[in-house]
């Protein structure tokens, strides 16, 4: 593996290898030493969580981090091309982690530089490290990826994380329930891909009935900006809120996941239940990103 650009590039074997390494790093963080290695964080768009979890991952393995966060005051504002900026950063560092508003930006940079490139989000296209940490979280909480029943809830139309999660789980015989308002349903082309792969799914607009069979409830935020009509938003905004009260009739092994930040879609009383797993999910991001950095820097054993 030379770069991590898109989940489409990863075989099931490679994914399992990364999951294994993440688990091993969680147990024994000192097995890999990235001291004197430098990670360049090239963030054309603000992101606190992804960037800080990458920084934490690199530093906990002994490595160093240099960062460009936002384009204000940088050479980008002077009109420097992405290619030039990236080629300079590649001279300063051993690995580039980048987020960019344009789709395909990370793939392009990976063709321009000799150091490994990690895509930390390219517009609405891919966010493979999020998908991998979601997979790690699912396997950590369920003990397997095989044959799980997943309810994906909220904004399924624009939610990049739920799209890649659907594809990432596809080789492991999942069963999906997609719960969303009509206007924010899973895109047709993804549903047609799932059909082609023979993966069963249901589409629902109501949350209640889907809860009891789920192994995983993956909740995403419904953003007001997605609704042209304020009234429409007011109608649906409370229909997809998870409360502790709703979780009385669920499977024992069920876990609630959320890529965070949450606003009100999971009430804080859920935090104290055995089903809350979103903070563990955030922590898992560090182990998964350690596994990715170590692998790309050729230090994975």
């Amino acid at each position: 593996m030379n770069n991590l650009i898109s989940m489409r590039d990863l075989s099931a074997d490679k994914i399992l290898q990364l999951l294994k390494l993440a688990e091993s790093l969680e147990k024994n963080p000192n097995q890999i030493d990235l001291s004197r290695r430098v990670m360049a964080a090239l963030f054309y768009e603000a992101s606190t969580r992804t960037r800080m979890s990458f920084e934490s991952a690199m530093k906990r393995l002994g490595g160093e981090v240099i960062a460009m966060v936002g384009t204000a005051g940088t050479s980008v504002e002077k009109g420097e091309t992405l290619s030039d900026t990236a080629r300079v950063m590649a001279r300063y560092s051993d690995i580039i982690v980048m987020r960019h508003p344009n789709e395909g930006a990370a793939r392009y940079v990976s063709e321009q530089v000799d150091v490994p490139v990690v895509n930390a989000g390219d517009g609405a296209n891919q966010h493979p490290t999020q998908s991998l940490l979601d997979l790690y979280t699912i396997i950590r909480s369920q003990g397997t990826l095989e044959g799980l029943n997943l309810a994906l809830i909220g904004d399924l139309k624009y939610g990049r994380t739920v799209h890649s999660l659907a594809y990432a789980l596809a080789p492991f015989k999942p069963e999906f329930t997609f719960v969303s308002p009509k206007s924010l349903q899973m895109p047709k082309h993804i549903l047609s891909d799932l059909r082609k792969m023979g993966i069963p799914f249901k589409e629902k607009t109501k949350l209640e009935k889907t809860v009891k069979d789920a192994d995983i409830m993956y909740v995403t935020r419904i953003q007001r900006e997605r609704f042209p009509d304020r009234e429409e938003y007011e109608k649906v905004k409370n229909a997809y809120i998870i409360t502790a009260e709703m979780l009385t009739n669920v499977k024992d092994n069920m876990k609630v996941l959320h890529p965070l930040p949450r606003v009100n879609e999971i009430t804080t009383d859920v935090d104290d239940t055995q089903y809350a797993y979103y903070f563990d999910q955030a922590e898992n991001g560090v182990y998964m990103r350690q596994a990715i950095l170590a692998t790309l820097l050729g230090e994975a054993k």
Binding site: S6, R8, T81, L82, S83, H100, P101, N102, E103, G104, A105, R107, Y108, D122, G123, A124, N125, Q126, H189
Partner: protein, 148 residues
């Protein structure tokens, strides 16, 4: 008696069955050299297509690659290589596996529309003439594409 509307060529290439009105787009792709002798026919009657366009290029044999690159705009075109007034080789066009620097990505947020760079599309499905952008990963049909 058969009336020839366009002079036959001694050596070169004939591209037949171009959809009517697309001859200029085909020419734009082939980019004739200043020494090429080119004849262009528009709106000829055709049994299969009702109307069609034709191009004849004297003195130049198109390579399979050049031929394939016109498949996006003229998927049913037939290409004949002419040697000494005789058809030496006849072939259909086929969309190549990779289309490099030929078409623009219709996704306005694609990096190829923001950086000075070459577009690359991979053939997703030849039957539906669907192409996937190597960068933004979106899939488009050939009719959605604008030639560069």
């Amino acid at each position: 008696m058969k009336v020839l509307k366009v002079d036959p060529i001694r050596n070169g290439t004939v591209i037949d069955h171009i959809p009517a009105g697309r001859v200029q787009r085909v020419l734009a792709i082939l980019k004739p050299r200043s020494t090429d002798i080119v004849m262009m026919g528009m709106n000829f009657s055709s049994k299969a297509m009702k109307k069609k366009d034709i191009i004849k290029i004297e003195g130049r044999e198109l390579t399979q690659n050049e031929v394939n690159s016109i498949a996006l705009v003229a998927p049913k075109a037939k290409v004949s290589i002419i040697r000494d007034f005789k058809v030496a080789q006849k072939s259909k066009v086929e969309i190549p596996e990779a289309i490099v620097g030929l078409v623009e990505c219709p996704n306005p947020k694609c990096i190829t529309n923001a950086e000075p760079m070459t577009t690359v599309f991979k053939l997703e499905s030849g039957e539906d003439r669907q192409l996937a952008c190597q960068y933004c990963e979106r899939v488009f049909t050939a009719d959605e594409m604008k030639h560069l």
